[in-house]
């Protein structure tokens, strides 16, 4: 191994890009790996093939931020190593295993910044596995990266700002949006007024999008309960209840999501300590204000550390970069660090507002019908999970995984794990924070059996 140990950054989204920039400015040469083919992360994801759409058409109000991020990252070329389409699948003993271009490389690093982002959080409902049901993120990716819609008459369902954003993006793209079904009651939205002083631009933008949806005839329904997707071989309609009224709407595509959940497996494999976060209803890696994890030399930034959105991700990436510089005894702009922390704490307060305006319908878990599949990888229904809890007197999540297989499939519990925890909490009458957390195992995503280990590691080997 001849490669000098570089700082390693996982993720080239807003957080990873700003972390990289901070290190490069200080004269370090980080290695950035991302499994996506281009930088930008989730929100500023780039299209796969160039098309005639302008960046405003792609990123809407965030177009200039997207352009800036892409440009700033491109400007770092030559001063860092960047591996796109590179999956970091294992961390052990201060080394990373990265699958890139058909082989696996072992990377020694000096400082690790995890900017792994988030994925959609969902709760199963009858019919959610029918073709035509997508996550909100998936619906957006289809539009952004591939320029195609998930249906010709689409319903958006769930909770969180992304619900209205994606509905609006579809409307703008000329798709027939049949309705937006919000799981939160209308009066929850009054909480947004408290956000006006914190992030006026964001609140106003949200209001504009909602108004535009309404104006263009999109029905907005609040306090939606008992949702089920109907269809024979694919989505044909969606049914729900509002108060005492049952309603049905025909559609051929559904975008569904209940906000986001952090991607934390790498932090777990790195040995970071976790804490339960009430706001995200999830176990998250502990970190200090600078993004330092409990393991020296491991830093966390962006939605992978806690859900806070893209602007916060950029700030947190820079802050984690500064923390790494400081820990190495390099110049680290302490005033800037303080300013970032102040901005992040304001965004944190804003997140509390959003959470009260778009609450997670945790009570749904208790009511998931027994026959509803909750784990699509392993084809396990809610009833099977409940029976496993009863038959084996299970009180802890990893034990539930052992006896029911939930969380053992392709997604490794990234999708079904939080559902399993909610059901277990419901069945045992305990808090979601008292049923434990799924231990992560490598590989964090599936890798081919035939993947071979490259003879040499290090960044130069890939060039």
């Amino acid at each position: 191994m001849t490669a000098p140990a570089q700082p390693l950054i996982v993720g080239a989204g807003p957080a990873g890009v700003r972390a990289a920039e901070t290190l490069v400015k200080a004269g370090l040469r980080p290695l950035v790996v991302d499994e996506a083919p281009a930088s930008g992360g989730q929100i500023y994801r780039q299209r796969l093939v160039a098309d005639e759409r302008s960046s405003t058409a792609l990123y809407g109000s965030e177009a200039s931020k997207a352009e800036t991020l892409h440009r700033d990252f491109a400007a770092l070329a030559g001063r860092l190593d960047y591996w796109p389409q590179a999956l970091l699948w294992n961390l052990r003993d201060g080394k990373a295993d990265v699958a890139v271009a058909g082989t696996s490389r072992k990377i020694a690093y000096d400082g690790l910044i995890l900017a792994t982002g988030a994925t959609d959080r969902i709760l199963p409902m009858p019919g959610w596995t029918l073709p035509g049901v997508f996550t909100l993120g998936g619906a957006q990716i289809a539009l952004k990266a591939q320029g195609c819609a998930i249906g010709s008459r689409v319903v958006f369902l769930g909770s969180g700002p992304l619900l209205y954003l994606v509905a609006w993006q579809y409307l703008k793209a000329g798709v027939d949006v049949a309705a937006v079904l919000d799981t939160a009651p209308f009066n929850a939205k009054f909480n947004l007024l408290r956000g006006l002083t914190l992030e006026p631009a964001v609140i106003l933008r949200g209001m504009r999008m909602t108004a535009e949806l309404r104006l263009r005839g999109v029905a907005l329904h609040y306090g939606v309960e008992d949702v089920r997707v109907e269809g024979d071989r694919r989505v044909e309609a969606i049914m729900w209840r509002q108060g005492s009224r049952s309603r049905t709407l025909s559609c051929d595509g559904i975008g569904y999501g209940l906000a986001l959940r952090s991607e934390t497996q790498l932090a777990d494999l790195a040995g970071c300590r976790f804490r339960f976060d009430q706001r995200d209803r999830a176990w998250l890696p502990e970190s200090d204000a600078g993004g330092r994890g409990s393991v020296p030399g491991v830093y966390l930034a962006g939605d992978g550390a806690a859900i806070a959105g893209a602007d916060a991700a950029e700030l947190a990436g820079e802050r984690a970069g500064l923390a790494l510089l400081e820990d190495r005894g390099l110049a680290h702009a302490p005033e800037r660090a303080v300013a970032i922390e102040r901005a992040l704490s304001r965004i944190g307060r804003f997140r509390n507002v959003l959470e009260s305006a778009f609450p997670f319908p945790a009570h749904w878990a208790k009511d998931i019908a027994d026959e509803t599949p909750v784990c699509r990888c392993e084809e396990i229904s809610a009833g099977e999970v409940r029976r496993a809890v009863g038959n084996f007197e299970i009180s802890e999540l990893n034990r539930l995984k052992a006896v029911s297989r939930i969380g053992m499939g392709r997604c490794q519990g990234r999708i079904c794990g939080s559902v399993a925890a909610e059901i277990l909490a419901g069945e045992t009458g305990r808090g979601i924070d008292a049923v434990g957390r799924l231990r992560s195992q490598a590989p964090v995503k599936p890798i081919p059996l035939a993947l071979t280990m490259a003879a040499t590691g290090g960044a130069e080997a890939a060039e």
Binding site: W89, N90, R92, D93, K95, D97, S104, K106, L269, G271, E378, N391, F392, E393, E396, N398, R399, A402, V403, R405, M408, G409, R410, Q412, Q441, A442, P443, P446, I447, P448, L449, A450, L451, T452, M453
Partner: protein
């Protein structure tokens, strides 16, 4: 506030050994406490490869292994679930003539033990097990062997024990055991005091400290076999696969996932837990892709490992303590305790009730480690507990 419990038998360790003993003892009408520092079946018994195999075991284990063999097909009646036990047969492959000669020699040694081994040549192998590729010259087939789901079996025995009236006390580590009059006093968990006439030490890789506390030292090491599982695939493998000389073992579960093992993992900072090394897992994956053409395009979805107690001579310790009446040991299964554990449970119950076992267990006496001059010590082991591994580690499990 401290709790007190008075039982006939206290069992330290709720792995498959401890919980099958608990169930058998309840069946004899005894009162039993089964204590585990974590959850029953969460250590080696619940995370192992799942090989239910007699083939390949040393001769002295076979009577016990045969006893267990009779229990496996009765799981449904015994614990209420079949544990996904599948009598698929165990096919042990030979890479070259020397391997094949070793398989032939083994078949000769164990003839008459009831294993019904069948030696298969290259052509027979291609005809009957066409899904095996790679450079394989022949095999030995044990049709009565198979595999099962360790997560269900181990948890299932503990649940059945609980239903039968065993005091199953999880998250209750035993902190101290002392001889107390005619029996024992145990301190466990935060506030539990137990008294028991008998104590079974089935604490797996942690059992040596309890033996040492009674003046019996055992060269118990820890090993961490690495496991890899693929995504569900169409039915490919019809038998549980082992390899003469080690290196790889593989099986396909009913759901379609292939489970493959063959390397050693490393402990984490907390040595009670371990995780495979990346290169170790890749080596297993590559070997599987090479040996089974049907797996060439498959993906691995998860690795794991577990903590197993290993003894240099590859045999467990099973039997009465030689220093302390009422104390019974059963540990150190060296990577091969899953199949025999239900038989061991019955033997332990007999030891409690009768003071002796109807199945021969003399070879497993704890007395065999009494200090003897090095020169007279026989060592058949290949060093399962040693840290450095040969290229194709000689694995005893599969």
């Amino acid at each position: 506030m401290s709790r007190r419990l008075d039982v006939d038998v206290a069992i330290i360790g709720g792995g498959l050994v401890g919980s099958s003993a608990a169930l058998a003892l309840r069946g004899m009408g005894m009162s039993v406490a089964l204590l585990d520092k974590g959850f029953c079946g969460a250590q080696a018994s619940g995370v192992n490869y799942g090989g239910v195999r007699r083939q390949g075991r040393p001769l002295e284990q076979l009577p016990l292994s045969q006893r267990a063999h009779a229990i496996w097909p009765r799981l449904q009646a015994l614990i209420g679930i079949d544990g996904e036990f599948l009598r698929s047969g165990h096919l042990k492959l030979a890479r070259d003539e020397a391997d094949m000669a070793a398989l032939e020699a083994y078949a000769e040694v164990v003839a008459g033990q009831g294993l019904g081994l069948e030696l298969i040549g290259h052509n027979g192998l291609r005809e009957r097990f066409g899904w095996v590729g790679g450079d394989v010259v022949g095999a030995s087939f044990c049709a009565g062997d198979g595999h099962a789901n360790p997560r269900l079996v181990s948890t299932g025995f503990a649940s059945a024990a609980r239903r039968a009236g065993v005091h199953v006390l999880e998250n209750t580590p035993v902190k101290g055991v002392t001889r107390n009059g005619a029996g024992f006093a145990l301190e466990a968990g935060d506030d539990l005091s137990l008294s028991a006439r008998f104590v079974i030490n089935s604490a797996g890789a942690w059992a040596d400290s309890f033996a040492a506390a009674f003046g019996e030292s055992v060269p118990l090491a820890r090993i961490y076999p690495s496991m890899v599982v693929t995504e569900p695939l169409e039915a490919i493998m019809t038998a549980n696969i082992g390899m003469e000389g080690g290196g790889i073992y593989a099986r396909q579960v009913e759901r379609g996932n292939c489970v493959v093992g063959g390397e050693r993992a490393l402990p984490l900072d907390d040595p009670d837990f371990s995780r495979p090394r990346g290169e170790g897992a890749l080596a297993i994956m590559n070997r599987a892709a090479e040996l089974f053409p049907g797996l060439r395009h498959a993906h691995a979805i998860r690795f794991w490992s577990g903590t197993e107690g290993a003894i240099p001579d590859h045999n467990p310790v099973i039997g009465l303590s030689l220093t302390t009446p009422g104390l019974i040991h059963a540990f150190g299964f060296t990577g091969a305790g899953f199949q025999i554990a239900p038989g061991v449970g019955e033997v332990l119950a007999e030891l409690v009730r009768d003071g002796r076992s109807t199945t021969p267990i003399d070879a497993f006496t704890i007395g065999r480690f009494a200090p003897v001059p090095i020169s007279t010590r026989t060592d058949r082991g290949s060093g399962a507990g040693e840290a450095s591994e040969p290229q194709h580690p000689r694995e005893t499990r599969s």
